[in-house]
Symmetry: C2
Subunit: 352 residues, 2 copies
């Protein structure tokens, strides 16, 4: 009974996030959350927060957080846009830049939210095939387009492009290029240093992964002030105050604790390399990851069977039914204990 | 230099929120915030929150909060939608229901965000004039339309419709009717009891005013499960996790403290009536308010001059430049001390 729905609602194909079981009995390696808690400075700022001020609206422009991010990335605060998670920032970017007469381009294997945004805003798109090694072939993006978006490192493959390659892409592109850097802190190079040189570059980052704040919903974009103004115009026609007081205070505390940030990221990278070695020993092809997850394919056993068996064993990983990757698994890097539990479970599953 | 902007961005006319000075030196009576802090239960739940869990994404469906709201409104959780502030909920509702071949109807003097949403989603609209007493004339809505939205009580007038009038409107309307009840807890009757009878009714409420949680960004909609499904489809094509862990926990704590909620609302209503009497004595026409603000017009002095003089005196109220109301002021009800400071300042301004 859809008589009341707009045509938009009828054509949607919503994104399906990874399972978030509300009982905590699983080892959760399915949604690329950080295995470590946020900086202790975050706990301190929240526990000491003056709750009485929650009666007031937050600063609609999030000026203090913008300045902290600008300082961190060595840019100006007019080059920063902040939203309620990078998914919201991406949504605004799709509406701001990608509704064009020519199609948007993105990799065929990529963040599965992109086609959902296209349906939401009625944006035409063309998927560009990854090569046979699941790498992004940038030459294939050198065609007529109304915009380009790609994750770097790519998800769910974890494979990163070099900054020189991003630069070449920007040299060859006259439309807006969004580089979605959700996982960049785990070993890839950010394009944040290029925004002064390319006025069509928008870099999107998040506090959800490398800053362990998925539960507080914070994402941001960096780019030329003209691109940021477009995002602000959309945001101010949608929701004046997307970032709440507590999220803002926590984010600033997180940015200021640079030592903890680097230490956690180093630990995740070490665990990833260790896990990759062990998975190869178990007969997995492990794609070279620059992120906080590994993308793997077993030489003998079907991915869906491994996924189900792991779930039975209390371990959640991510399985995608999509073409080309329906025999792969994406596994988030957990603590060393969690990784060991995974390896032990796989050992038992694969030896059956 | 807008070469990168979509047509949408170019046509926008963003909403301008009331001033949020980041220094706290003003008496803020300009954005209808509650003068009282949130329930002590909110402080407790936030101070005792396990910050480590912020590394995890929140429940994308906010099941626990939905159930708390369903219980509070005596409906089922399939009839509840939750978002990052009622502004976000309204935005999704505009996209879900109001993009139709016939125009959306709303009062000419109303929440000034409505035309901004229409620009964002390219929705045609017709403004229906309030009568000469600034009351909504529901007969005038009895015309060809693709949807109706009205605040009850209306903003910025504060004047409420009776539930019987809302019912008559619903009887006469075949499109979706959104009743925006941001201020309903300060003396009007909610239409939440009508959602089982009218499958085209969506009731929108917020935690920002009567629950003193503007700083945490929480709003929600109540309606037939079919309308809620449309909102979920849009939300899941936009941002899977709009409500963060802390906001969700705080909201549940707030709902559970019914006694505090009622006590604060009673206090605001008492202060409003007292303030209204004093303002009338000072020569103001005070419209009959069922909200946490009063809408006033002075018999002699221009509203813009009073606004400026109050600002000089450290008191912020809201002045709108819009036609018909550009000689009125909207004044939020503060604590009794704040209201007295306002009355004293007005006394001095008006006697000059």
């Amino acid at each position: 009974m859809n008589q009341y729905w707009s045509d938009t609602v009828c054509r949607l194909d919503p994104y399906i996030p990874g399972e978030q079981p509300q009982n905590r009995q699983y080892i959760k390696l399915n949604t690329n959350e950080n295995p470590y808690p946020p900086s202790p400075a975050v706990a301190q700022v929240i526990q000491n927060f003056d709750i009485g001020t929650l009666r007031l609206y937050p600063d609609p422009e999030s000026k203090a957080l913008k300045q902290a991010l600008a300082d961190h990335h060595q840019i100006s605060s007019e080059q920063v846009f902040i939203g309620n998670g990078s998914d919201e920032v991406l949504a605004h970017a799709f509406q701001s830049f990608f509704k064009q007469s020519k199609p948007l381009l993105f990799p065929d294997i990529s963040y599965s939210f992109y086609p959902a945004y296209c349906a939401l805003y009625d944006i035409e798109y063309t998927k560009i095939e990854l090569d046979s090694n699941f790498c992004i072939d940038l030459n294939a993006f050198n065609r007529n387009n109304g915009g380009i978006i790609l994750p770097n490192p790519n998800a769910p493959t974890g494979i990163a492009l070099a900054l020189t390659e991003i630069k070449t892409l920007l040299e060859n592109t006259r439309s807006v290029v969004v580089v979605d850097e959700a996982y960049v802190d785990f070993g890839a190079d950010s394009a944040d240093c290029l925004i002064d040189s390319y006025d069509n570059l928008l870099v999107v980052q998040t506090f959800s992964k490398s800053r362990s704040l998925a539960g507080l919903r914070l994402g941001y974009a960096l780019g030329n002030a003209n691109l940021i103004e477009a995002l602000n115009r959309v945001k101010n026609s949608f929701n004046s105050y997307p970032v709440d007081h507590l999220a803002s205070a926590a984010a600033i505390a997180s940015i200021e604790d640079q030592a903890y940030f680097q230490q956690c990221n180093r630990q995740v990278i070490e665990s990833r390399e260790d896990l990759s070695t062990k998975l190869r020993t178990l007969g997995f092809l492990v794609y070279p990851s620059s992120s906080n997850f590994v993308f793997v394919k077993h030489s003998k056993k079907a991915a869906v069977d491994i996924y189900e068996a792991l779930k039975q064993a209390g371990i959640l990983v991510r399985y995608f039914k999509s073409p080309r990757i329906n025999n792969c698994l994406r596994i988030s890097v957990g603590t060393d204990n969690e990784c060991n539990a995974l390896v032990n479970a796989l050992n038992s599953i694969l030896s059956k």
